[in-house]
Amino acid sequence: MNGMHDLGGMHGLGPINPEKNEPVFHEKWEGRAFALFASTFVFAGYTVDEFRHAIEQMPPAHYLESSYYEHWMTAFETVLAKRGIVTREELDARIAKLKKGGN
């Protein structure tokens, strides 16, 4: 299946811009997102293929604009919602609560 993720050979995507002395994680949340990936794997029982498929279902513009770990977060939310482990409503409610300063 092709799609936005199938980037090989595409033109016009700009310079490569390697970063000198790049940290493993640029922000703390990226490290948490990475660790969640390794942990959710175990209990949610999904495969890398399913995870990648979830990333590949992202709307093309969002896929290109968002960072790598945002792709991951989108995929987590998809696979966890699909299994009913964490529903969209549950997550939205928690985000709203955290925004107001709750825990």
Partner: protein, 199 residues
């Protein structure tokens, strides 16, 4: 989106991660301390120094190199490097006639046990798009001139199979120890966008 930034200094993805982590912890599905340990492992313990040791050993030990070229997964495991995203490894050797370079055009597949987590440029659209269409041009941007007489091979990683480049041993290193040689082996030289450093 703009409103939420005003309401809360935390960026949106940071908030989403925190929300998900707190729900999963509440349900007893994850242990935040285990997450701390994973972050520490990939920030401090697993990285390209592992791959550099594999390469240096292959440079000094012809028998090891033979094993590495025939069953890379097992040979790399001999040095203690195995596991997540390194379950099926293939090593491709740079020679006077061939220069190899790695990519994952579809995503970000990368050999974690030997190289750690990939840099942002490896996962971003411009490299994935261009390295397969114009590898020599991209290599030049990384400061690597590959003469026309040398064949360039681009290897596209998959979800299961991960490659590692065995760079050429630089000239003038005959008297160096394995540990000294490992210091010449950079992450980029094992992706294949550069050569190993000269002493």
């Amino acid at each position: 989106m703009a409103t939420s930034h005003l309401e809360n200094k935390e960026s949106d993805p940071a908030l989403r991660v925190r929300a998900l982590e707190s729900i999963l912890a509440e349900k007893g599905l994850i242990d935040p301390k285990a997450l701390d340990a994973l972050v520490d492992t990939y920030e401090n313990k697993i990285g390209p120094r592992n791959g550099a040791k594999v390469v240096a050993k292959a440079w000094v030990d012809p028998e090891y190199k033979k094993r590495l070229m025939t069953d890379a997964t097992a040979a790399i495991k001999e040095l203690g490097y195995s596991g997540l995203q390194g379950e099926d490894m293939v090593v491709v050797e740079n020679t006077a006639n061939v220069h190899n370079v790695l990519v994952c055009t579809l995503c970000s597949c990368y050999p974690w046990p030997t190289l750690g987590l990939p840099p942002v440029w490896y996962k971003a659209a411009p490299y994935r798009a261009r390295i397969v269409a114009d590898p020599r041009g991209v290599l030049k941007e990384f400061g690597t001139e590959v003469p026309d007489t040398v064949e360039v091979r681009t290897w596209d990683s998959t979800a299961e199979l991960r490659y590692l480049v065995l760079p050429e041993r630089p000239p003038g290193t005959e008297k160096m120890t394995e540990a000294q040689l490992a210091d010449l082996v950079t992450r980029d030289s094992m992706i294949g966008v550069t050569k190993a450093k000269s002493p």
